[in-house]
């Protein structure tokens, strides 16, 4: 099932769809307010984009510099070519430390690698500690948004889930009550965890340390107690210098939620006392994207989610309609880059409105990428035969102006005299919920000719 079919199911529940749209639009408006308070906003975006371009062009150099500096600080560096290698490195580290329970803060990379099911299969309990992620984990769902993983759920549904798994009071869906219960539940997990896993927002080549941004402090408490901390990062998370960091932290939280900065911006430059800090640097298809000039900019993404919040299609179709780990505009381009066949409808789940490209803090030309992906879909023969045929015939007609005039004339004469049941038959997708325009007697060209006579 492609995006369109899944989206139409989401749209069918108009009340919920509008609730979803409004919730995300609210976040988008908060972001606008925050962005408009900084006179230097556009300058920040420009600099961020340039730092990313520079870094991606010298990624080999900066990755090695990062490794060298991290090792000097006593950090362990691992390289993973793909998801399988990443998951095995994690498992081996956990086994070597005899870890049975792991707490994990938010990381889209571990979602991408499907780490949770892999560890569960190997009898390791993995607990997502971000509240939204914990909710979807209990429900055995995937995040539907990269910053707001449970945005598709209403508080009543969260209440039901907690009733089932955390034994909360029946029908109590008061957010404060539920949050306190979640905190109690997670505290026990934090206190008894043998290891922690975090994602990485930024890895600083110059200092050899990583930075993790959260609002709940779950990464901090998670990494403070167990002796083993594993941080997983994609190769694109590198920034050159410490002084570059502030550009991104200023953009990240404002773009994501409209906050000036995330509540916790934690720097990890050494393991805790008597502990070990392991960093896994993962490629998993990123080098391929890097080598494609049309799409390499998508590696500039700092996972703020602003393009999801602004996307009029995402807001009305929900995260699951995309069928890829990351939904919305950024997910559509990354998904199409990774596996065009599996994600062939995603470049078309877009009106090319360009809001995403203008909201993006690192200035990724997202809509241009989706436009380019469409050409690749056609090139790969993945556009449906019917669509291809229609476009081919239309293009042919358009090369013959007399034929175009004639066909226009025929349609304008015939459609108005046909019975409504035929004009609005099943084949008329436009007419399902919309009237056709009123067909005029004469085309502009006919009127123009009469005028100059």
């Amino acid at each position: 099932m492609g995006h369109s079919e899944k989206a139409s199911k989401f749209v069918a529940n108009s009340e919920r769809m509008h609730w979803h749209d409004k919730a995300l639009w609210f976040v988008r408006e908060k972001r606008d307010l925050a962005a408009h308070q900084l006179d230097e906003w556009e300058e920040l975006r420009r600099v961020a984009s340039e730092i990313k371009s520079h870094t991606m062009d010298r990624l080999d150099y900066y990755l090695e510099e990062f490794e060298k500096n991290a090792k000097q600080k006593g950090l362990h560096i691992h390289w993973a070519r793909d998801a399988r290698e990443h998951n095995e490195i994690v498992l081996n580290l956990l086994l070597a430390h005899g870890a049975k329970r792991v707490v994990k803060s938010k990381s889209m990379l571990t979602e991408e690698c499907h780490l949770n099911p892999f560890l569960e299969k190997n009898n390791i309990e993995i607990v997502d500690t971000d509240l939204g992620e914990r909710i979807v984990q209990l429900r055995r769902e995937a995040p539907s948004h990269i910053v707001l993983p449970a945005i598709h759920l209403k508080k009543e549904e969260v209440g039901k889930t907690f009733e089932e798994f955390l034994n909360t009071q029946k029908d109590n869906c008061d957010p404060t009550y539920l949050t306190r219960e979640a905190r109690k539940h997670l505290r026990e997990k934090f206190l008894t965890a043998d290891a922690s896993i975090t994602g990485v927002n930024f890895a600083i080549a110059q200092t050899g340390g990583v930075v993790v941004c959260t609002n709940e402090g779950n990464a901090d408490i998670g990494t403070s107690l167990p002796k083993l901390h594993i941080a997983s990062m994609g190769i694109e998370k590198i920034i050159p210098r410490l002084e570059d960091l502030s550009i991104f932290t200023r953009l990240l939280a404002r773009s994501a939620t409209g906050q000036p900065i995330t509540t916790y911006t934690s720097h990890f430059h050494a393991p805790i006392e008597g502990g070990e800090l392991h960093i896994i640097i993962v490629d998993n298809g990123r080098s391929d994207i890097l080598s494609n000039s049309d799409f390499k900019e998508s590696l500039h993404c700092i996972r703020c989610g602003a393009c999801l919040n602004t996307c009029p299609v995402y807001r009305r179709s929900g995260g699951y309609s995309y069928g890829y780990i990351i939904p919305g505009p950024i997910g559509s381009t990354l998904g199409a880059s990774r596996d065009l066949q599996a994600n062939k409808t995603l470049p078309f789940a877009c009106t090319l409105c360009a809001s995403c490209s203008n909201v993006c803090p690192s200035k990724i030309g997202l809509h241009n990428q989706l436009y380019k992906h469409r050409q690749n879909v056609v090139k790969a023969g993945l556009l449906g035969a019917k669509k291809r045929a229609i476009l081919k015939v239309t293009a042919w007609v358009m090369k013959h102006p007399l034929l175009f005039d004639f066909m226009g004339l025929v349609v304008r004469k015939i459609v108005p005299i046909l019975p409504r049941s035929i004009v609005y038959s099943k084949a008329n997708v436009w007419g399902r919920n919309r009237e056709l325009p009123k067909f005029p007697k004469k085309s502009f060209k006919e009127l123009y000719k009469e005028r100059i006579k």
């Binding site: 509008h18 436009y371 992906h373 325009p437 005029p440 502009f444 060209k445 123009y448």
Partner: protein, 250 residues
């Protein structure tokens, strides 16, 4: 100054009045306008569907037909964006491409940037909601966009403000997409219609009597919804307001 009038293919067939209004707006300003008879389609539907070769053939055709005009003017932000922004991939380096790239304008943009009229002797005594269609808005820069932190402006509002008796409404979402999106309107019918309904409702709630804009395609989509749901509002291409097509009744 010789102006080549570029009328989008679907407008030629379905919206002769808005097309004629475009011609009259230009002629009323004393401009020398010609409609090249063998023009058809700029190739945008093919390009947006990913059909590179078909789009390229039509882009080449467009270049041949229009390259000798001083200016090319069209009543569509979307088709103009196709020429100015998307043609580069098909025509870069071709003789005459720079000429059409630099001199193709959307109607309101042409008035605002090139002709700069200070009065318009027409009246439109209605409450109007402006639909900022995406390609004109974000690709051509017809107005400041809500995403960016740049000084506020609107070429559309500035030109419409020259019309007597006109009143503007304030929308809650000033520049959200209406969901037309070309082939999107059919391949993603459900989302497309949902977006269109939301857009029309924003104008209705703001008590607009007329939704106007520079792109007939967006207006056609919204009018289709208005007609099906029998809503008390109507769409009108901006050229028809500027040409004074208003006949006393809506």
């Amino acid at each position: 100054m010789k102006i080549g009038l570029f009328i989008p293919c679907f407008m030629n067939e379905l919206y002769p009045e808005a097309s004629m209004a475009t011609l009259r707006v230009l002629e009323n300003l004393g401009l020398d306008v010609e409609y090249p008879m063998n023009q058809t389609c700029c190739g945008q539907p093919m390009a947006n569907s990913g059909c590179y070769h078909k789009a390229k053939e039509l882009a080449k055709r467009f270049l041949k037909i229009f390259k000798d005009y001083d200016y090319i003017v069209a009543p569509s932000g979307s088709c103009v964006a196709m020429v100015r922004v998307n043609y580069a991939q098909f025509l870069e380096g071709e003789e005459g491409f720079e000429q059409i790239k630099n001199n193709t304008y959307e109607l309101v943009e042409f008035l605002h940037d090139v002709i700069k009229p200070t009065t318009m002797s027409v009246s439109f005594p209605y409450r109007v909601g402006i639909h900022n269609s995406c390609h004109g808005h974000r690709e051509l820069g017809m107005a400041s966009m809500s995403e960016r932190n740049l000084p506020e402006f609107s070429k559309i509002k500035k030109i419409l403000s020259l019309v007597n008796d006109i009143e503007f409404v304030t929308l809650r979402r000033n520049d959200e997409c209406c969901g037309f999106g070309g082939i999107f309107s059919v391949t993603e019918e459900a989302v497309s219609v949902a977006m269109g309904i939301d857009r029309v409702n924003d104008h209705l709630n703001a008590k607009a009597e007329v939704i106007t804009g520079i792109d007939m395609s967006c207006l056609m989509h919204m009018q289709g919804i208005i007609d099906r749901q029998k809503l008390p509002i109507k769409t009108m291409h901006i050229a028809q307001i500027l040409a004074g097509d208003y006949d006393g009744t809506l």
